[in-house]
Every structure is written in structure tokens, then in C-alpha cells.
């Protein structure tokens, strides 16, 4: 549907500073009518009231208007330059029921006449509470409050007109129902539940808006001028709930036990949930705050059928009361079961996020955690992602003695290096500023300069890792550009490091171009992730599989080469230190080896698997197993240019020229009409063609097995050991699946015999869907070869 048409560009204030603001095409960064991105535009553009409006002056323009319009033909359109698409979208047509929020059909009333003081059955209380929970969860997935919680007549009563104190926030005047004290107490119970729910929403909005998110894409923070008890502390709500529990526990209050306990459990659930959402929850208690909520869900689930729905308690017409020009939109219906699943999903993700607190203090462990969290299926919702980001940027966590980028650099290129010797930082500069600084002080200053320079790009990567999956892919492309610039700067610092090192005669102790090597390594890693995310998100069409895997293998191979260079340097250094009997330092260098071995194994495996897939999909395309569209309006080279666009400005690595790319992906001519050499190679199972598939599958398997053997610790994934193990297992499974697919094709070729047409094989290739647990690893598409029935 096209309803998103009405969305406006409402960038959250954070966006302005985030890396994402470079996203050339993201709609959220485009501020259309206002210079400040902070404005919170309603869904349709409302009239903006100037803050200090001058006295209005009235001019009669009738005559001018008539004169001017006489110059026009009937029906002739005039458009001024300031009438934009944005304006046209914001325009409404009066008396069109779908656009005019005040338009009423004959007999229709503007508002409902639901009486919030009417007495409710306990069953109805449960029904309303559970319905509210559904809407709360719908809101969490990204729908606006106006179509979810704010359709509740009860919520509206509590929030509007804006109460000055919480006591004023009532379903009926003075909190006294005309229907007697019994009705009153049950309504008070519902009120306590609603108040806590509203406060919870306040916390959710504050948590999400304190981090980078995308308004209306991830979440809708719009509250339509309703104030969600922002300044009332949590304790007040907990007390209201306590009082409600007391009402329910009163034995004089006659009610079936099952209903009594069902209502009490809902009140207690609200308490637990509110505590978990609390913004000031102490760090050390965060991990234990979610399990009470989770157990509350179980009880709610078990007693849901006791409830009775109260349809009149929710109405689309409530939207007319909100400060919005949009006509009422349908209420977002959410199954109760789905809502509970979602709630559980939030709790589980947040609980998992709290493990970040206890991670080993190592930026690479943090990075593994962030990547793994972002890869969870189902994908964490925006609240859980903001929850993790808040922990990640928590001062107690980020304020470590060593800078994050520096710790990362040290692990890769400077283990036991004189460059990072703390003594360097203690040397005093010469009294005469004209005299050259001692070389070791120069080293320290150069490193400081680099750390300073790399801080932002480093955090950009982390911010990208906390976005929704689609954004992650696009944002990484921008982070890569930033790291590309960083690499250029790093190589300048490297040159200065080298001259300081030569003054100290320690050139052989430092890896040449250490800093730029580190940057390049990380940059290549990000490019790999962007390509894999492309596969995961089904960005590439089947006939692009071969080429994109080939490009991936090219990138990983570059990274593998860097790693070899680093490993060689470390080994030499290790031997040298041993020879010099500097055992402590030698040991430090040796300790860096497992991480590099792990990186190398992972890179080797990834390069081999992607090359095997590149070759396999080439065969599949030549055999007509993959659809190749006709594309009358496009050429291969134009499509290649489009595909490579994110990487064209980056260097290194340079994007290969189209001719090279074509020569490697289509060595037998066009997919649709391969030259005879293809059929010959296809039938020859010992040909180079098949060797490249099977040999690489084997190489990948060996490398991933080695990766597994080295373990999560070596991979700096200790904190996510289980998920890491599963990921490696999935890579191995992908290798096996490719082996099976390759055997399936060979088998069909064999059966077809020497006279068989490569395009007439009795098989088809099934592409497993993404996100449906049909792929071993989401980023690795391995087709299933199925015999034609």
C-alpha cells in the first residue's frame, strides 16, 4: 500500500549528528521546510504557529483576486515554485471522508459517548488490560500511539485534559463513580494499571530517543501533546499498583478467586515491567530485572481466556481528539498471542543485552557482541536495540583507561611494541620548543593524534551496528567511506612513526604501515559485511550471485593477505625477542597469535567459500538453472556500475574494471549461450571448473574447522560463545550444503551423458528464502538442487 506517502521527514535530533546523516537517500535526513531537524512534524503538516505572532492585519484582496483570475482560462493550473511535493502530500480535500478529519457521514457522531464511569465486570477489566497490552506491543513494532494505545477511551480520560497532578488523572470527576463503591474499586484497579502503562511508555520513548533511531521507520514517538507523566517518579506508580493489589486482595471484595488472581498478576506484571523499563535502574540490577517480567507473561497467557473484551473501550474516533489533522486511521489489530510473543522477545533481547555489562573489557569483544546481537533472529526491536546502546555508551563502561580504538590497534598490530610503551607518554618535551622532541615522545604524540582522529569513525561503526538490519547495511557503506579517509590520514601518521622509529633504530620492530594496515583490515571487514548483508536482504538477483561472490572473495583475499603480513611480522619479532632473551615481551607477542590465527582461519574460509559459490553459480547460470532476465533497457556494464557504486570512491581496494569482472564471471561467453568449451568442462569432473568449486569447498571446510578449534576466546567472542559456535557451525553446514548441491549438478550432468544439453538438465535450483530459517546462514545463499519431477 502506498500510505507511507503521508509520512514526513521527521529526523530525530540524534540523526543530525549520526553518521547516518550522510545517507544520501535516506528520507529521514531531508529536512524539507525547516532548518532545524528537531521539529516533530505531525503526520500531515499542521499549520505552524509562529511563537510571537504579530497582530494580524486584514487586507481585502477580492478585487485583486478577481482581476488576476480573469487572466486565466477556466481549469488552467498555476503552480508557484514553492508548491512542493511535500506540500501536495500534506494537502487535504475538505468533505472527502478519507481526508477531512471533521467530516461526518449522516448520523455519525464526532465522538463516542462511552461512559468511563460505568461499572465493569472483573472479566472486562482483564479484557481491557489484555487489549491494552496488545496495543502497547503494536506501538513497539512501530505503529503510532494514535492507532494503538491512544484509541483507548480510558487512557484518553487519564491524559486529557492534561492533569496537573496525578490525582486529577481520573476516569470520572473526583474519582467517584455514580455506580457505587464496588464499581469504583475495580475502576481504580484499572486506573492504576493504565497509569503504570502510560509511565512505561514515557520511559520507552525516553530510552529510544536518547539513542540513534529513525522516526516512523523504527518507531513513532509522537504523543500528540499528551504528557505521559514525564515528571512523576516511578515510585508513585508502583504505589498506585500496590494500592490496587490491596483492593484486589481484600477478602471483603467479592470476586471469583481465579479472576482475583488474574487481575493481581496483571498488576504485578505492570510493576515488574515498569521497574525493568526504569531509566535509572542501577547497572548491577539490570540483568535480573527481566526474568520477573518473563514469568509474569506466563501467568497472563494462562489466564487470558478469563477476560471479556469491551469493544466500546477503544475507538478510532479518539484520534480526532489528538492534535493531528489526519482523519481517523484504522486501529492496528494485534493478536494477543503475537503481542505476548513480542513482549517475550523484548524481554529476552533486553536480558541478553545486559550481558554486555559483564563482557571482558576489550573493544573486540564488544564488537563481537554488537554484531551478534544485531544478527539475532527475530531481529531485536528498536527498544531492545536502544537498551543495548544505552549500556554500550554507559559512562561506567566506556570510560576505560585505554581508548577503545587503541586497544583494538594494539591487539592487531602493536602487541608488545615499543610504540605503545607507557614510558613514551612520560617523557618531558624539551624546554626549548625549537629543539626536536625526543623520538619516543614523538611516538606517543603521534599515537595520541591517531587515537583522537579515529575516535569518531570507530564509534560510527558501533552506532551502525545498533541500527535495524536494513539501515545497518546502508550505514556501513557510509562508515566505510569514513574509514577510507581515516586510512589516508593513518598512512601519514605511519610515515611519521617510521621516521621516529628510524631515529631510534627500531624500524625492524615495527610493522610497516601499522596504523593504516589496521584501518584497512577493519574497512575490508566492513565491506565483506555489506556484501553479506546484501545477500541476506535479497538485494542481489540470482544471476548476480556469481559476480557478487567473486567480488566478496576478492575483498576477503585482500584481508587475508594483510593478515599474513601481520602474522609474518609478529613471528619474526617473536623469534627476535626470544633471541634477545626478552621473554616477557616475547610472551606478549605470542599471546597475540591466537587472535590473528582465528582471523586468518575465518578469512581463509570466507574467501574459499565465496569463491566456491562464485564458481558454482557461474555453472548454474550457464546451465540455465538461474533465471536471467532479458533486461531490454539495461546493459551489463551499467548494472556493474550500479552494483559497485558504494565502493567506487573507496581505495584501496579498487573495484576491478568491468572487463576483468566480465572475463572472470563469464569465461565461456554469455550465460544464455556459452561456447562449447563449457559443456566439455562441465562433463569433465576433473576440470579446473569443478576443481574450483570442490577444492574451495574443502578449503573452506578445513579453515572453518580450524576456526572452531581455535575457539570463541581466540576470536574475541568469549561473551557470545554460544552464538559464535553456532555461527561457525552454520558456515560449515553451508559448505556441506554447497558440496551436496555441486554433487547434484554433477550427477545430473552424468545422467544426461555426453550428448546431453547443459541447459536441459533434469534438475532445478531452489533458492532458500531469507529470514525463514531456510538458510544455514542468512548471508550465505546455497541453493538446493532438486530433481525435476
Amino acid at each position: 500500500m502506498a500510505d507511507s506517502f503521508h509520512r514526513h521527514s521527521t529526523a530525530s535530533p540524534q540523526d543530525a549528528d549520526a553518521v547516518s546523516s550522510h545517507d544520501g537517500a535516506g528520507p529521514f535526513h531531508v529536512n524539507i521546510t525547516n532548518a532545524t531537524p528537531q521539529t516533530n512534524l505531525p503526520l500531515r503538516q499542521a499549520f505552524r504557529q509562529p511563537i510571537c505572532a504579530p497582530e494580524p492585519k486584514i487586507h481585502d484582496i477580492t478585487e485583486k483576486f478577481l482581476k488576476a483570475s480573469n487572466a486565466l482560462e477556466v481549469g488552467q493550473l498555476v503552480k508557484d515554485d514553492y508548491f512542493t511535493l511535500f506540500e501536495s502530500i500534506g494537502a487535504i480535500e475538505i468533505l472527502d471522508p478519507k481526508m477531512d478529519s471533521g467530516f461526518l457521514k449522516p448520523g455519525e457522531t464526532l465522538e463516542d459517548d462511552y461512559d468511563t464511569s460505568r461499572s465493569l465486570l472483573p472479566e472486562e477489566i482483564i479484557g481491557i488490560m489484555d487489549q491494552l497490552l496488545c496495543y502497547e506491543m503494536a506501538w513497539h513494532t512501530g505503529y503510532p500511539l494514535s492507532q494503538t494505545l491512544f484509541t483507548s477511551v480510558y487512557i484518553d480520560k487519564l491524559l486529557w485534559p492534561e492533569p496537573k497532578t496525578l490525582e486529577q488523572s481520573q476516569f470520572f470527576p473526583n474519582g467517584e463513580s455514580a455506580h457505587g463503591p464496588s464499581a469504583q474499586s475495580l475502576l481504580q484497579v484499572l486506573r492504576a494499571y493504565c497509569l503504570a502503562l502510560i509511565k512505561g511508555c514515557d520511559y520507552v520513548i525516553l530510552k529510544i530517543t536518547s539513542r540513534d533511531y529513525f522516526e516512523e521507520e523504527d518507531f513513532c514517538t509522537q504523543t500528540y501533546n499528551r504528557v505521559l507523566f514525564v515528571s512523576t517518579p516511578m515510585d508513585v506508580f508502583l504505589r498506585e499498583l500496590d494500592a490496587a493489589v490491596e483492593v484486589m486482595e481484600d477478602t471483603n471484595f467479592e470476586i471469583k478467586d481465579a479472576l482475583r488472581s488474574a487481575i493481581i498478576s496483571r498488576l504485578k506484571f505492570r510493576q515488574d515491567f515498569l521497574r525493568a523499563l526504569d531509566l535509572d535502574h542501577p547497572l548491577e540490577h539490570m540483568s535480573s530485572s527481566w526474568s520477573p517480567v518473563l514469568s509474569g507473561i506466563t501467568t497472563i497467557k494462562a489466564t487470558h481466556q478469563l477476560g471479556q473484551s469491551v469493544p466500546g473501550a477503544f475507538s478510532t474516533k479518539m484520534q480526532r481528539r489528538l492534535a493531528s489533522t489526519v482523519p481517523p486511521r484504522p486501529i492496528v489489530e494485534f493478536d494477543f498471542k503475537d503481542a505476548l510473543d513480542l513482549l517475550e522477545h523484548i524481554c529476552v533481547d533486553c536480558e541478553e543485552a545486559t550481558r554486555f555489562i559483564d563482557l571482558p573489557q576489550d573493544p573486540l569483544e564488544y564488537q563481537s557482541f554488537l554484531w551478534t546481537f544485531a544478527s539475532r533472529l527475530p531481529a531485536p526491536l528498536v527498544y531492545s536495540r536502544s537498551y543495548l546502546s544505552t549500556l554500550m555508551f554507559h559512562p561506567e563502561i566506556l570510560n576505560t583507561a585505554v581508548s577503545l580504538p587503541l586497544a583494538d590497534v594494539k591487539t592487531l598490530v602493536f602487541p608488545a611494541s615499543l610504540v605503545l610503551d607507557p614510558i613514551n607518554w612520560t617523557l618531558p618535551p624539551p624546554r626549548n620548543p625549537l629543539l626536536p622532541k625526543p623520538p619516543r615522545l614523538q611516538l606517543a604524540m603521534l599515537i595520541d593524534e591517531f587515537v583522537d582522529r579515529s575516535g569518531q569513525p570507530y564509534l560510527d561503526l558501533w552506532v551502525a551496528l545498533s541500527q535495524n538490519r536494513c539501515r545497518l547495511r546502508r550505514m556501513l557503506s557510509h562508515v566505510i567511506t569514513a574509514w577510507d579517509l581515516l586510512q589516508a590520514d593513518a598512512s601519514l601518521v605511519d610515515t611519521d612513526l617510521a621516521s621516529a622509529a628510524s631515529e631510534l633504530s627500531i624500524t625492524d620492530q615495527i610493522l610497516e604501515f601499522s596504523l593504516s594496515t589496521w584501518v584497512y583490515h577493519k574497512k575490508l571487514w566492513m565491506i565483506e559485511k555489506v556484501i553479506l548483508l546484501g545477500f541476506e536482504q535479497d538485494i542481489y538477483l540470482p544471476d548476480e550471485f556469481s559476480g557478487m561472490h567473486l567480488f566478496l572473495s576478492l575483498i576477503v583475499t585482500r584481508r587475508r593477505e594483510l593478515l599474513t603480513r601481520i602474522q609474518t611480522h609478529h613471528r619474526t619479532r617473536h623469534t627476535q625477542l626470544l633471541r634477545e632473551r626478552k621473554l616477557r615481551l616475547a610472551n606478549e607477542v605470542a599471546e597475540a597469535a591466537p587472535y590473528l590465527d582465528s582471523l586468518a582461519a575465518e578469512a581463509t574460509g570466507t574467501a574459499a567459500l565465496s569463491l566456491a559459490l562464485a564458481r558454482f553459480y557461474m555453472i548454474a547460470a550457464y546451465c540455465g538453472l538461474l533465471p536471467v532476465p532479458k533486461r531490454p533497457f539495461s546493459t551489463e556494464s551499467l548494472r556493474y556500475e550500479l552494483r559497485m557504486k558504494p565502493f567506487l570512491a573507496v581505495q584501496p581496494p579498487e573495484v576491478p574494471p568491468f572487463e576483468d569482472f566480465k572475463a572472470h564471471t563469464q569465461p565461456y561467453g554469455p550465460y544464455t549461450s556459452p561456447d562449447p568449451g563449457f559443456a566439455a568442462d562441465l562433463r569433465n569432473e576433473r576440470s579446473e571448473l569443478w576443481a574450483e568449486v570442490d577444492g574451495n569447498v574443502k578449503a573452506a571446510k578445513d579453515a572453518f574447522t580450524e576456526l572452531k578449534r581455535l575457539g570463541a576466546g581466540a576470536a574475541k567472542s568469549q561473551g557470545v560463545e554460544k552464538a559464535w559456535g553456532k555461527e561457525v557451525q552454520n558456515l560449515l553446514a553451508s559448505c556441506v550444503a554447497l558440496g551436496v548441491a555441486s554433487a547434484g549438478v554433477k550427477d545430473a550432468v552424468r545422467k544426461a551423458g555426453d550428448a546431453g544439453d547443459p541447459k536441459g538438465l533434469d534438475i532445478r535450483a531452489e533458492i532458500p528464502d531469507s529470514g525463514a530459517k531456510k538458510r544455514y546462514a542468512e548471508g550465505w545463499i546455497v541453493v538446493k538442487i532438486v530433481k525435476e519431477a
Binding site: A2, G24, P27, T84, I89, A91
Partner: protein, 205 residues
Amino acid sequence: MAESGEGTKPAADLAAAGLQYVQYEGAKEEQYLPSIRQLISKDLSEPYSIYVYRYFLYQWGDLCFMALDNDSNLIGVIISKLEPHRSGTYRGYIAMLAVQESHRGKGIASKLVSMAIDAMAARDADEIVLETEITNTASLKLYERLGFLRSKKLHRYYLNGNAAYRLILYLKEGTALKRPEGGHAHDMGMDMPDMQRMDEAGMIS
């Protein structure tokens, strides 16, 4: 479904079906706009105001094409625009496409899109973009058969919560390397740089 035989039907078939393809003209507003609106809003939960149609048709009426039957009834329509994009390219955008349900699967949508592409190419466009719902396989297939590639997946692009793909077709070499003139992309006037959130209204499946 627009699947079978889509894009392969020779023009003669289309003529045989008694359809004629016409470019929109401003003078025809009274005659055609009501039926264009009707056809497009059929698949929309919320209608576009008349100003949205006029925004496109007034400025880019020559990029709007209609399929009419013998009695001049509107069977299909495509609405597009073409203007400098802040990325530095001269970018075409397919805003709406709709074919009457009873006439789907006959290649009408493909023909309309092809006409729009030809018209934009003739006006020197660098690229053409559009968005479509990821679940709309017929639409994806139609554009991908013509040469479009998916460039981005857009999370919760539509108000119904569904994601979209942005599809792009390059028409000229060097498009990827174009940069905005005079540096900053965001300074390019007041106009919304692109209709990022615009769906092609019409479903073709």
C-alpha cells in the same frame, strides 16, 4: 499476475486487444484525471489529494502515459517525474503505476513502464528509481525483467509496516560517479529532493 508472457507480447497483440497508448496532456485533465484517481486510489488505504496528481501531471504530464480501450476508458496509467537529484544525477522517478484488474497479465504495465523509460531516456535522464513493496513479487519481476536492480531494502517503509526495495535502472555510464554541482547536496533549493516515501500506487498483480 502479470507474470506469464509479460514483456514478450508483440505490439500487435496489444493493438489486437484494442488498446491505445496515449501521452497525458494538461488540457485533458477534466477528461482523464477523475479516472486516473479512481484507478490508482483503488489500491490505497488513504487517497492522495488531487494536488498530488496535479503536482506530477502539471510538471511532467509528458511522462504520464495512459492505456485506453476503444471507448477511451482508462485501463492503465503510469505517472513519473524527472528532475535533478541532490546526488547530482538527473533522476527519473516512477511514482504511480496501475492497471485495471481485469486487464492484468497482458503486458500493459510493462508497456507503460517501457514508454516512461523511453521518454525519460530521450530527455537525457541518468537513472530511474522507484520503490516497491518487497512482497509485491509481480511488480518486482516486471521491473527486474526490464533491467532494474534492487539497491536498498527499506525497513518499515510503508505505514502498514511492510518493507520496500528501492529499484534503480542506470541509463548512462558514469552515473554512479556523479556528484552534486557546487558541493553540498542539501542546499539544492526547497523542493523535496525526492519522493522517498512515494509508492507506486498501482499494484499490478
